[in-house]
Symmetry: C2
Subunit: 409 residues, 2 copies
């Protein structure tokens, strides 16, 4: 997928360096017109999706017999399409599957990339369903100045970071560059979608121009195809009627608006969606997160010292200019990056709320939030890096081999 | 391919029924502005190809130690790109391969469809080289109002008609709908071509509009990919440097002009080409050959009686209105369909020349030419239909299984 299917990078300036007057959210660029970031309520209206409200959260709890994931409760996963139908299906004991993806644009992965997989892992375990993960290395080849071989190698390296979290018996990770050439049924679904979408429609949805290569123009069909269970006959016993739920960042919605439009015309169920917000850069919502700037994010390969140095040096503070001022006016959680990161990673609601109150009141200093975050990320990365080390090419190959998954319907 | 890769149907009127003032030759429409048919000399200039002249025919004879095929000698295969290089390679004992194709638009195949395979069979045997035949069932699905399943079934039926002529140990017939999903290397070459061609370029070459579906727009890459030996690693031991020779009707040239433009940019040799003229309808160059009009052509499934009736009733005559007039002024071979068909099917040069002289002088009547043609086609179809009967689905499957071919380099 174009950024990550999960939390995409946030870019506050336009192509020409100016600040646009309206939020621009599409698979290749995310511009926020305001320093407080993207206006997600407006986005819901513009995209025509539905907010995740307390009624839906209750349905989650009823269906699962457990509280929904904190990313749902905290409004980080904030919007959906037809999630109520998926919950109803689940309550009736009917099957569905999960589909998410990643565009492997380099070997490096940062904390923002890992969140969608943490959330997807939770969905997979809570609902006990199969999961397919598309690595769009063909897309990266088409969009970037890299060779096919390089794009394919990023897939393997990225998959190694995903693997520790996912159950092999229910997870199929695939490279487009490998799987499309291994699955006539996947290719046939690509053809079906490609026949149902005109250049004009693709232009309207994705902003393609006549100077774009024909590979880009037909690519949306490739991201659409995994929404249909018939693209994976080895998993779904050649059934074409198993519904799909796609957890993704809101910037990927254009692909799936198109997919939902096409689905009934090719005799397939429309995929349901769960949309998440974007993961901020260390420098805050005002600056661009850049894979080429090692200081804009914490990477999965960072050492404990690097984590500490980066957070201390770069994490934008919502605190006062002086201790006195801070004690008097309190800190601003809405723009404090350490607090925002804690929202993504600290699963203890009560503790998070206490931190929010004490920071807002001025009792806690930014330094405390940073310390809390550093310890949390260091522990997370220690565990991640240990598990990552154990992931050999052989293990990745196992996940990426087209095969039957556990699917008992 | 869009019509047949061999001799395409000839269509003399424009979409609006008017006669255009310039020949229009592209993969989907062939319009001739004149009643004598397409001006092939002009086409060579417009397309920038080279005429097949006596010097090239001599090189053929030298390289092969036998006269070139009568379709070459008679100027039916009339134009080329880089054929001299292929002949030079062959003389040096270096390898190349043949690539041709067919767009399986229905189960029915007529005499025009069989000629490219007769010619290709001659090339295969004369040069002793591997041959790949692309059945573009995906293209037919994209362009026509048919299902994928129907398009795929036409491939099998059409392949049954090709098979009797071709050597299994040197021939791979493939359905796009099957093979693309079975060959990562083929898909990767598709991606490479799709990255190298913009919508603007595809529009310029093929006349696509913004209302065309994105499948059509990216399809040219699929017809380009078999020009590269790396698309068939199982045949060419994963070599990417084996040159390709494509015998096709001149209307397919736009695909391969594009392919030749892209080839050096993706590190592949440019394919060489042999272009043929179009096969006329029974009603002559003034009328459109239509698959839905059983009377416009002789079909491979026609009975001896049907052949006789069609030729006698429909084959346009270049003879005089009365016997007296004919004896006085002679017949016109250029517009006499029976004579034109004999040029395509009668391999005896001396006999053909004698017929031409005697018909032109008025000595022979049209009835004689028709009788000659009827006997020739009846014998051809008798033999073809017998061989066709022996071709089971199993035999077709053998030809269509990706496998090693005889290729000793």
């Amino acid at each position: 997928m174009s950024n990550t299917t999960g939390m995409a990078n946030l870019n506050l300036t336009g192509d020409d360096g100016t600040v646009p007057t309206e939020d621009e959210v599409n698979p290749w660029e995310v511009h926020a017109s305001s320093a407080t970031g993207v206006d997600y309520d407006k986005l819901i209206k513009r995209f025509g999706s539905s907010p995740i409200d307390s009624a839906l959260l209750s349905k989650f709890e009823t269906a699962l017999g457990q509280p929904p994931h904190f990313l749902l409760r905290r409004g980080i996963v904030f919007s959906h399409r037809d999630m109520d139908q998926i919950l109803a299906l689940h309550s009736q004991g009917k099957p569905f599957f999960l589909y998410t993806g990643r565009g492997p644009s380099s070997e490096a992965m940062h904390m923002g990339h890992v969140i969608p997989f943490l959330f997807t892992k939770w969905l997979q375990e809570a609902f006990n369903v199969p999961l397919v993960i598309q690595m769009t290395d063909d897309e990266k080849f088409l969009w970037k100045d890299i060779s096919l071989e390089t794009a394919r190698s990023y897939t393997t390296e990225n998959a190694k970071h995903n693997r520790p979290r996912l159950r092999p018996e229910r997870t199929f990770i695939f490279s487009d560059l490998d799987y499309i050439g291994s699955s006539p049924e996947f290719y046939r679904n690509m053809c079906r979608v490609q026949k149902a979408v005109t250049f004009n429609q693709a232009k309207g949805i994705f902003g393609f121009t006549e100077s774009d290569c024909i590979g880009k123009i037909s690519f949306p069909a490739i991201q659409a195809a995994p929404s249909f269970s018939s693209s994976f006959p080895q998993i779904f016993n050649s059934r074409s009627d198993i519904p799909c739920l796609i957890p993704c960042a809101i910037d990927q919605d254009p692909y799936f608006r198109m997919t939902r439009d096409v689905a009934p015309r090719i005799g397939c169920p429309k995929p349901a969606l769960l949309h998440s917000t974007f993961f901020p850069a260390l420098q805050g919502c005002q600056t661009k997160m850049s894979a080429s700037d090692a200081n804009s994010s914490v990477f999965l390969t960072d050492t404990p010292k690097a984590v500490k140095d980066k957070i201390n040096k770069y994490a934008f503070s919502g605190g006062g200019a002086t201790v006195e001022e801070h004690k008097k006016n309190g800190g601003n959680c809405d723009i404090d990056v350490s607090y925002q990161y804690l929202r993504f990673f600290l699963d203890d609601d009560q503790r998070l709320e206490k931190i929010r109150q004490d920071y807002s009141s001025g009792e806690l200093l930014t330094g405390y939030l940073k310390k809390e975050l550093i310890e949390l990320l260091q522990a997370f990365l220690k565990s991640h890096q240990e598990k990552r080390k154990a992931v050999t090419n052989e293990v990745v190959k196992q996940f990426m081999t087209p095969r039957k998954l556990k699917f008992d319907y």
